[in-house]
């Protein structure tokens, strides 16, 4: 369950307890998107998933596309996304989100379809489905949550695990001579002609959150163009499996993760492709 204060619904704040003001004397500066289910989340404190769920739902609300959006969440910590996002959603087998999304989008090309995949899901077991979907230029959005570990199965090494990083299956640190270097999947995906927009972001500080929100907003809008796949990679905090506090995890991203996974746009749409906006 998230303990981030921003996650608490405004109505939970007892107005009488704050500065003695009445409820209607407050200006609402933040509210949870109506497209979020009002329930407690199962995610660990400081986990990126809860925040990114909310950002996606804000975008869906702002674009007013709740009735046109279908999400696909494969196995991983976020397989329960349908408990939190108030939209039609499909679970997918581990690694198969892009194939499931292909089946949905090909039959309903006018709908907004996104996958929400972990790094184990996308970069290991599901890399074939992912690369082929992008190569076909499926008009979907791939939200790629890279936390450098297998979160759900409690912290085993992923293809994205940093060199020397300790996980339950690389107890002495990832040995690059044995397992190879971490895959930079977004760079790989950007090379495919079907990829329209590829960016890598994070959510470990307010500015990063804003940039991620902007990237997601654009990526959703680009689906209207039918020009190819959008990929928003997000370096996600996984304090539990990194064996850190939420604050340490946020720092770890800036100090270590970005060395292997530099943030920023990797492939941006050509200006003429965006003319209708």
């Amino acid at each position: 369950m998230s303990t981030d204060l921003h996650e608490l619904p405004v109505t939970n704040v007892e107005p009488a307890l704050v500065c003695g003001k009445q409820e209607d004397e407050y200006e609402v500066v933040y509210h949870k998107p109506a497209t979020m289910v009002d329930t407690a989340m199962h995610y660990c404190p400081g986990c990126a998933h809860s925040l990114v769920h909310k950002l996606i739902m804000e975008v869906v609300e702002e674009l007013d596309i709740q009735d046109k959006t279908v999400g696909v969440a494969p196995v991983g910590c976020s397989v329960f996304a349908y408990d939190y996002m108030d939209i039609d959603m499909s679970e997918a087998a581990h690694g198969r989100a892009c194939a499931v999304a292909t089946g949905i989008k090909r039959l309903m090309p006018e709908k907004y379809v996104f996958t929400y995949q972990g790094d184990g899901d996308l970069a290991a077991i599901g890399i074939a489905e992912t690369l082929h979907a992008i190569n076909r230029g499926e008009n979907i959005l791939i939200v790629f949550m890279n936390n450098a570990v297998y979160g759900m199965t409690s912290g085993q090494m992923a293809p994205t695990t940093l060199p020397g990083m300790h996980t339950t299956t690389s107890p002495d640190g990832r040995d690059v001579s044995f397992y190879g270097a971490p895959i930079k999947v977004s760079e790989l995906m950007a090379n495919l002609p079907g990829a329209f927009f590829v960016t890598r972001q994070a959510v470990n500080n307010p500015n990063a959150v804003r940039r991620t929100k902007k990237a997601l907003l654009n990526a959703f809008k680009y689906q209207q163009l039918h020009k190819g796949t959008c990929i928003v990679e997000i370096i996600g905090n996984c304090p539990s499996n990194w064996k850190m506090t939420p604050v340490e995890a946020a720092k770890f991203i800036d100090e270590e993760m970005v060395k292997t996974f530099p943030l920023g746009d990797i492939k941006i749409p050509a200006a003429e492709d965006l003319k209708i906006f």
Binding site: E91, A92, G103, E129
Partner: protein, 356 residues
């Protein structure tokens, strides 16, 4: 008046898919069923339907999962090794209760085996195949006509029960040419709006497709719900064909291609004065246990003839429950028994059991 056409089994099946209103086909080439994908790649776009060659059978079955989950009529076809690769996806489809049509044009195995026809996938098709407690309705065509007919039936049953339906054919039925007639078809009305992922309007709650039930109580409840559905299927959907059973002393039990060979064997036996009959299960799940049990009271011996090393015979034994001897004869690896060979085997068994 609908006319007869001369068609390959695989092509008749593909044409039937179009006539049955199949919205989407996803497949990956494998002998002996690539004609299905080839035929549909040519014909589906003319009807504004979706046809895609996927990157693997793993992808095909999951594309089917997506399309079926969005409420569309979706199907895939493959042959044995490809169907093995799909098992995880099939289990998810059964768990999430998605209606769809699957086709296995069975070749001989195990492993890469051979592209020749076989019936070695009986266990995989009828006993689960993938993980967990689930069943598919399994239809076994024995002619090109049935390759077509079972597509309509299969889609309808899938919709009715929200369950995957498998057409279990084989390389011979898929490849051979016979006359086939496409009968007029009216699609039953099914309302999928209460569960299909089409985008949530304000007027309803969200629909989600899942096979995940993390709480043990919920998981068991879901399993019970599925089992109740399978019970209804067992009660209402058993299909079989009987030939010459009314006076039969000896009963061949065979499905698909083996049933056709047994039909000829039965004629030869009768010419020799041996009163043979044939029971051909059309649904392999649900299996005609009850009818076989009734017939077992009447005949002296049952002989299960299969293109494998003895799989369906276990169901025949379950049905007969010790009442009569149940014997097995099979050829494998794409080898076909001749009708004479089967009759010879029957004669030997009659001697052995002193049941004449």
């Amino acid at each position: 008046m609908t006319e007869y056409k001369l068609m390959k089994g695989n092509e008749a099946l593909a044409e039937a898919a179009i006539l049955a209103g199949c919205d989407a086909y996803f497949g990956y080439p494998i002998t002996p069923q690539s004609e299905v994908l080839e035929y549909l790649a040519r014909e589906m776009p003319k009807h504004n339907r979706i046809v895609m060659q996927a990157e693997s059978e793993v992808a095909s079955i999951n594309m089917v999962y997506g399309a079926a989950g969005a409420g569309f009529r979706a199907m895939t076809s493959s042959s044995s090794p490809g169907i093995s690769l799909m098992q995880e996806g099939i289990s998810y489809i059964a768990g999430a209760e998605l209606p769809c049509l699957l086709v296995n044009v069975n070749r001989a195995g195990p492993g890469l085996g051979t592209i020749q026809p076989g019936q070695g996938d009986y266990f995989q098709s009828t006993k689960g195949g993938g993980h967990g407690d689930y069943r598919m309705i399994v239809l076994a065509p024995a002619s090109v006509q049935e390759m077509a007919d079972f597509v309509f039936l299969g889609f309808d049953l899938a919709d009715q029960y929200r369950n995957p339906v498998l057409i279990l054919s084989d390389g011979a039925i898929g490849q051979m040419m016979e006359k086939v007639k496409f009968k007029p078809y009216t699609r039953p009305q099914t309302d999928k709006s209460s569960w299909a992922t089409t985008g949530k309007p304000k007027t309803r709650g969200r629909n989600y497709i899942t096979s995940l039930h993390i709480q043990p109580e919920k998981m068991e409840e879901h399993n019970k719900h599925l089992e109740e559905k399978f019970r209804k299927i067992r009660e209402n959907e058993v299909r079989f064909e009987e030939i010459n059973t009314s006076d039969a002393d000896y009963l061949f039990v065979a499905y698909g291609l083996s049933a056709r060979i047994c039909q000829k064997a039965m004629d030869i036996a009768r010419q020799k004065g041996i009163k043979a009959g044939l029971l051909r299960p059309i649904t392999l799940y649900p299996y005609p246990y009850q009818r076989l049990n009734e017939l077992a009271s009447q005949v002296k011996m049952l002989l299960s003839v299969e293109l494998n090393s003895g799989q369906m015979v276990e169901d025949v034994r379950l049905a007969v429950n010790g009442k009569r001897p149940v014997e097995f004869y099979g050829r494998m690896g794409g080898m076909m028994p001749t009708p004479e060979e089967i009759v010879h085997h029957l004669e030997t068994l009659i001697q052995y059991h002193h049941v004449n």
